[in-house]
């Protein structure tokens, strides 16, 4: 049973490669728009590129997760999950992980290409890579929570992000501070450990929160 759900989730992503490539294309598109707005001043761009990468990552996860439950909700699959004997927490956990792996993880793999385009030095690149690796699953999980909250509302394209963004702020603060420490030549162990602890707090608790939210959203 578990393996069937696991396969089903993976097949939905593999059936249409758009699921995997569209976030990646969106990320690169938005990243490459920034120099056009800021101007071709190389030192300025190199200085603010970690922030730009993080902001773009937030946009990508937001757009990616706004309608996360839409298909399942319209098909009635969520009701099936909620009434089934299997633990829905497990399914939701799988959904979060698989969504992250197929939509956000490819972006993180391609970050080194961005670093070549924007002339980022290796130790800052490592910090960006590490913070994204630890931070983006949190972003995805919280974004999915936002989509679960707004599931009963028909036009929620803007509402979901409005609710979600304030919850991203701790992650943002610690990631930015971790990257800044490295660029100042200081150790960033503290920030990385805080990010790791937020990740280890959010990932196991989020399925339970999602289950509760979906129950409220559907019982009306």
């Amino acid at each position: 049973m578990n393996s069937i759900i696991f396969k089903k989730e993976i097949y939905t992503y593999f059936r249409s490669m758009n699921y995997i490539f569209l976030p990646l294309i969106f990320f690169f598109l938005v990243i490459s728009i920034f120099p056009l707005v800021i101007g071709p001043n190389k030192s300025l761009i190199t200085k603010i590129i970690p922030g730009i990468i993080w902001i773009t990552m937030i946009f990508t996860t937001l757009i990616n997760s706004v309608n996360f439950f839409k298909d399942d909700y319209n098909n009635g699959v969520i009701e099936m999950y909620l009434t089934s004997e299997k633990s829905i927490e497990y399914i939701l956990f799988l959904k979060i992980i698989i969504c992250w792996f197929f939509t956000i993880f490819p972006i993180i793999i391609f970050i080194p290409i961005v670093s070549i385009m924007f002339n980022i030095s290796l130790h800052i690149l490592t910090a960006i890579f590490l913070t994204l690796l630890l931070g983006s699953p949190i972003l995805v999980a919280i974004g999915i929570f936002g989509s679960a909250l707004t599931i009963g509302i028909s036009r929620n394209n803007i509402l979901g992000p409005i609710i979600t963004v304030p919850f991203y702020i701790p992650v943002l603060i610690f990631s930015a501070s971790a990257i800044e420490s490295v660029s100042n030549g200081l150790p960033n162990d503290l920030q990385i450990y805080v990010l790791l602890s937020i990740l280890l707090l959010v990932l196991p608790t989020m399925p339970y929160l999602l289950k509760y939210t979906l129950r409220i959203s559907i019982n009306n």
């Binding site: 509402l159 409005i162 919850f167 929160l209 409220i216 959203s217 009306n220």
Partner: protein
Amino acid sequence: MNISKIANLKYFYKHTENVTKTLSFITFFLFIAGIFWGLYIAPKDYLQGDSYRIIYLHVPAAWMSLQVYIVMAVTGFIALVWKIKIMEIISIQSASIGAYFTLIALVTGMIWGKPTWGTYWVWDARLTSELILLFLYIGVIVIYSSFSDKRQGAKISALLAIVGLINIPIIHYSVEWWNTLHQGPTVTKFEKPSAHITMLAPLLYMLLVFNLYFVTVLIKRVRLGIFQREKNTKWMENYLND
């Protein structure tokens, strides 16, 4: 008095009409007295002159913005767990009051910042967290208003409020995390208060008045919320006709 009676919407609506009138009068006069105390009687600050007097609005408003959030989250929790109708209404009605308090804190802070820091806005930890608090309030209000089924909207917004409570510790401890322009807390240091008692007393008094104001407005708004929810029922019709 029985708690289950107060939790009854009908009982609450019928018995709080006179209470709100009395409370409004008391709050109004106490507020005038507090303004007078803060603006005329309290001594001048040796460093900031008279401009520090906005503290008597700024600090209580900032304090209330946090306190109301806690009230909103706790009543929301009670509403979700024990399914008490009046708690849903209290939770959602305190959201907009809290948003106003946050707005007052931000605006007075900006007005105060101009003479003391030389700029209206600084991106330091506390200002930013207060702004985020405003966004959290707005999120709760907006998600409630987007639901056509108000019961479900109240439940979802209560859940959002509870989860948003994570942000409150960040606001409190942000002062210690970042060393920035904003001065540290002056009120809570009891062992060696950095404000003199003649300045501190009106501040604590204003805090009490703001609390009273919150309770008064909350009762009024809860009455309004009950009216909106129960306007088509028999008892409301009978009560309004009497």
